[in-house]
């Protein structure tokens, strides 16, 4: 008898939890603000602090927006999400939306993040590698979905290396540092902004690297993207969003410590690590273009170079370069970076 009671109790608990779980819905936000789903490119990094700065100071709300910041899954996923309407605005590595526009994704670039391309290759100094041409025949560890691997054929051909002369080992993003530290790979591709983390494992005097931009790789990197539908139906929202975001960039570039403090209120980050990360990010904003034209400026020459890179080395493009971006939503006046 006792057993039957126990069994029935167990079944009841399980059943009630199931029924209750099925009825769960997510909470909702105040109705007066316009809801915007903003998708990041990856998990939280130092350069994501800006969005939380804008959130904390209420700059999104000032523009009448209620922004939901969503942690991302990679540039490819950002394009998929924008095109299928799962997000309104997203961050993506510039070549990705361009390539996929050809495949039918109706996405456009509306603002730039990194002005100098942060792609980088890391290796042990004692491996003898000093320049990109030395990569031929080496083993390179990089996550398959990483922008580095996708753009490697383009960069390789630019510097005169046969792209197939290297051996790739696909790794989990978390294993980048370990792959190099354990010498399981000769080279690791990682953004230069990840250098502080590399240095946790490999002393700075033994860590060799070169930044692709220093060898002529002049494409655009992380950018804000949105869909053609949003551009047609809600251009005002895009303007307001970018205004708040670039205002936050302007603030963050001048107050990085505070930005990281704010970020740590929203996410479980190690402040010292992320501050080092953000300071490196700032180096990629310190260009003449951002000084003179403003943060986020889409340079027609560079976007054309990005377009040509894709067209030559990745995917023949059937649409004109003007179709892949729209700079009419950037704030005016632009926030200039006086570094």
């Amino acid at each position: 008898m006792k057993r039957k009671v126990l069994l029935s109790v167990m079944i009841m608990i399980l059943s009630f939890t199931t029924i209750w779980a099925a009825g769960q819905t997510e909470g909702s936000a105040p109705a007066e603000l316009e809801k915007v789903d903003f998708l990041l490119n990856w998990k939280i990094t130092g350069d994501h602090a800006v969005y939380y700065v804008a959130q904390k100071f209420g700059w999104f709300q000032e523009e009448g927006l209620d922004v939901n910041i969503i942690v991302g899954q990679g540039s490819g996923y950002s394009v998929q999400a924008i095109d299928s309407g799962k997000a309104d605005i997203a961050i993506s590595d510039a070549p990705v939306p361009i390539t996929n526009r050809e495949k039918g994704a109706n996405v456009k670039i509306i603002g730039i993040i990194f002005d100098k391309h942060p792609n980088c290759s890391f290796f042990w100094k004692d491996s003898g590698i000093t320049k990109p041409q030395d990569l031929a025949g080496k083993t390179i560890a990089v996550p398959a979905t990483d922008g580095h691997k996708v753009m490697w054929p383009a960069f390789a051909k630019q510097v005169g290396v046969d792209p197939d002369s290297v051996k790739f080992v696909n790794i989990e993003p978390a294993a980048k540092v370990s792959a190099l530290a354990s010498r399981n790979a000769d080279v690791v591709f990682e953004l230069y902004t990840g250098k502080p983390f590399m240095e946790k494992a490999i002393p700075a005097d033994q860590l060799g690297y070169f930044v692709w931009a220093d060898y002529g790789f002049n494409a655009y990197a992380h950018s804000y993207i949105t869909s053609d539908e949003t551009i047609a139906s809600n251009p005002e929202m895009l303007r307001k969003f970018l205004k708040a975001v670039y205002r936050a960039w302007d603030y963050t570039l001048q107050h990085p410590e505070e930005a990281i403090d704010i970020l740590s209120e929203y996410h479980p980050i190690n402040k010292a690590d992320y501050l080092a990360n953000l300071k490196v990010v700032m180096e990629f904003f310190q260009t003449d273009r951002y000084k003179n034209n403003g943060i986020g400026y889409i340079d027609p020459t560079r976007i054309r170079e990005t377009y040509n890179l894709v067209d030559q080395y990745q995917q023949k493009l059937s649409f004109p370069v003007e179709d892949c971006y729209d700079d009419s939503f950037l704030p005016s006046p632009m926030y200039k970076y006086n570094f």
């Binding site: 990679g74 490819g76 394009v79 998929q80 095109d83 299928s84 990705v96 390539t99 996929n100 495949k103 039918g104 994704a105 560890a141 996550p143 398959a144 979905t145 990483d146 691997k149 996708v150 051996k167 790739f168 080992v169 696909n170 790794i171 989990e172 978390a174 294993a175 540092v177 370990s178 792959a179 530290a181 354990s182 399981n184």
Partner: protein, 262 residues
């Protein structure tokens, strides 16, 4: 001979029918709703990337299928042997049960992929590390089920044979092990599919070939037909291994499953 072939076909036919029905519905949905290829590819696109020579050749399918298949089979063999052996050890000796069980249970609650950087440093990458990861992911069901099977002997039967002065070893060999066969086979079936998952997790951690490697490469280019083709192949491998174990089960325990379903 002819009879068993027709019986086999009769068994497979409804399952194949449902599979083709599923493919047809999938194709229809993609076409009717005009779903874009990088959101959901159509089955035709998937099979093209797999079978159409002009498209498929760039993926070097056999190279990758071979790598993953080897990992799955070897890890499954290791899982079966070591898993059953450990379970016998745990059931035989209360001491070993107390020593080993907590470690096994605590270990199995860990998501192995979280230890990726550690594995890379300790084991490097290649065939053997992938098998190790697959084993670590798949061994638990075999141990749990085998132990349960060895333990679940009726009291009356045990009392009887002890009354007849059966030794512990005799009880083990002649009663516990035969009794646990259904449990063991159920455990092996579960582990079979987990070996597939485990091999891929190993490949995701670090690999230079295999279906997991190809899957990630395809993901990078949002090449969804190839991604789905990889997933299809992985499921096929899992299904094949699962069916093979079911087949072995029928041979080892022909007396089971003779039910008359109304």
């Amino acid at each position: 001979m002819g009879k068993s072939v027709t019986a086999f076909i009769k068994k497979i036919a409804p399952k194949l029918l449902y599979f083709f029905l599923f493919l047809a519905v999938w194709q229809a949905v993609v076409m009717v709703f005009k779903i874009k290829v990088f959101i959901l590819p159509s089955p035709i696109a998937v099979f093209q990337h797999l079978l159409d020579p002009s498209i498929a050749v760039q993926y070097d399918w056999w190279h990758h299928i071979g790598a993953t298949l080897m990992e799955v089979l070897v890890s499954f063999a290791a899982t079966a042997v070591v898993g059953i052996a450990l379970a016998i050890l745990i059931s035989w000796s209360r001491l070993f049960s107390q020593l080993l069980s907590p470690i096994i249970i605590l270990f199995n609650s860990l998501p192995k992929i979280a230890l990726a950087p550690l594995f890379l440093i300790w084991f490097g990458y290649g065939f053997l590390p992938n098998i190790l990861v697959a084993f670590m992911i798949a061994f638990f069901p075999v141990i749990i089920n085998t132990s349960a099977g060895l333990m679940a002997v009726e009291d009356d039967l045990l009392d009887l044979v002890r009354y007849l002065n059966a030794s512990k070893l005799q009880v083990f060999m002649k009663i516990r092990i035969p009794n646990s066969l259904p449990y063991i086979f159920a455990g092996l079936k579960i582990s079979a599919t987990m070996c597939v998952v485990g091999s891929i997790v190993g490949e995701f951690i670090a690999a230079e070939k295999g279906l997991g490697y190809l899957l990630r490469d395809a993901q990078a280019f949002i090449d969804t037909p190839t991604m789905f083709a990889c997933l299809l192949l992985l499921s096929a491998i899992g299904l094949a291994l699962f069916s093979f174990i079911g087949f072995l089960e029928k041979i080892c325990m022909p007396w089971e499953h003779v039910q008359v379903e109304k």
